[in-house]
Assembly symmetry: D2
Homo-oligomer: 134 residues x 4
């Protein structure tokens, strides 16, 4: 793991996060993680409010996600995110989601991203000052 910011966000499980099996639907966790990842990006200098202007967006290249235990309606969840690896044009972030009440690990994920210039979709170099994270 590289040195860098660690972002903590919180979610309370809503009805729209759950499914008829009575648990949090697997797709909902990816929204929880995206919110955390967006704030992590802001912390790293990728202000997504400016993305529309610059046309440079963080594009997800690969997601690996493990579902360990089910979350349930009304539970408070703690989402943690950090920078895990930095290469020239790609980087990995790591995430964990714990149930707040008993600190049980529900979900772990790793996601590889790149900065791309839209609408061409061309990858661009990561910010120079990210060298400190390599």
């Amino acid at each position: 793991m590289v040195k860098g910011p660690r972002i903590e966000t919180r979610e309370q499980v809503m009805f729209y996060d759950t499914d008829a099996a009575g648990v949090v639907h697997n797709i909902s966790y990816l929204r929880f993680i995206e919110k955390n990842r967006t704030l992590l990006g802001s912390e790293l200098g990728l202000d997504y409010k400016e993305m529309s202007g610059s046309g440079i967006y963080g594009a997800v290249l690969r997601i690996e996600i493990d579902y360990r235990r089910p979350g349930r309606l009304g539970e408070d969840l703690q989402v943690s995110g950090w920078l895990e690896e930095v290469k020239k044009v790609k980087f990995w972030c790591g995430f964990e989601i714990h149930r707040t009440e008993d600190n049980e690990l529900l979900v772990a994920s790793r996601q590889e991203l790149a900065l791309v210039k839209m609408p061409e979709g061309k990858p661009t170099r990561l910010p120079a000052d990210w060298k400190k994270y390599i």
Copy 2:
């Protein structure tokens, strides 16, 4: 109701459409309706594949939706959509969602839309040949 095309689409209720109460979540029906509305728009000459190019999009101004009976996991649903009223820059569409098995009405909705030029968000006149629907 004006004369015009009537669009029928089908949905099979997936886990991600349901919630922990064991029924289709109220928000999911709006996705079902949007798909129908998009095809209705295509039928009326609003080709949404060309929207990105022209920058003219169908913007939803108002939604009224009544939930009559709950849909459930795995059910087949029939979505019907039609043009209900045409004004100068605004128009209303009507929708109904029936459970295919017993033709029970689950949801009824009316939606007011306008064509707007993005990114300014400025309303534009409806296509001239829509006069036949007034």
Copy 3:
């Protein structure tokens, strides 16, 4: 409007809330409102963490929603919710979503709900102490 609690929640517009027209998708606002409505319900004594146990859920009967101005990526939104009308087995809630930066009203909504016993879907009387809101 009846007397009762007023709930304020905040949202920051994420990528998954937006669509290819560059604005917040109309369906996303309904998630923002549902979160507010859930907290409003808790304030009114409808603890949704206990709903799974009792089998009594707040069911949405009707939604009316007006889209006044478009929200955009990265904006901070303020969601307000309140109890608007209380009948024997049904009640209406009101909601407004403002852009925090300039207090512009983006969305207004009214939603009619009832408490229903699942899985039968049978309506149940509202809590006795809600009489004070009539």
Copy 4:
């Protein structure tokens, strides 16, 4: 890859599938895949309409997904799904999503699942006749 059914489903990219970067949002592909996976499960004897009755659900344990090229509004997508590996209580499915027009591969995914008895979340043995896929 094991021998077994191969499921093909189609999606047309709707506004709610896209985001402000002008492309299909990474989370939307997981809905496309879930629909395919559900039909694959039906083909394999896991009738999800009966799941509510039996309380046995297909639970996702791990998702790996690679985003190769961006999909866009209005495009027709072809989703393919198949059984990739069968163990005693776990199995892997494979998925690919191609753009119909030019057969370009947009997304590839592998997903590990198990059958679990809810609400306990206890894993159950896979159907005996799946031995033929091992």
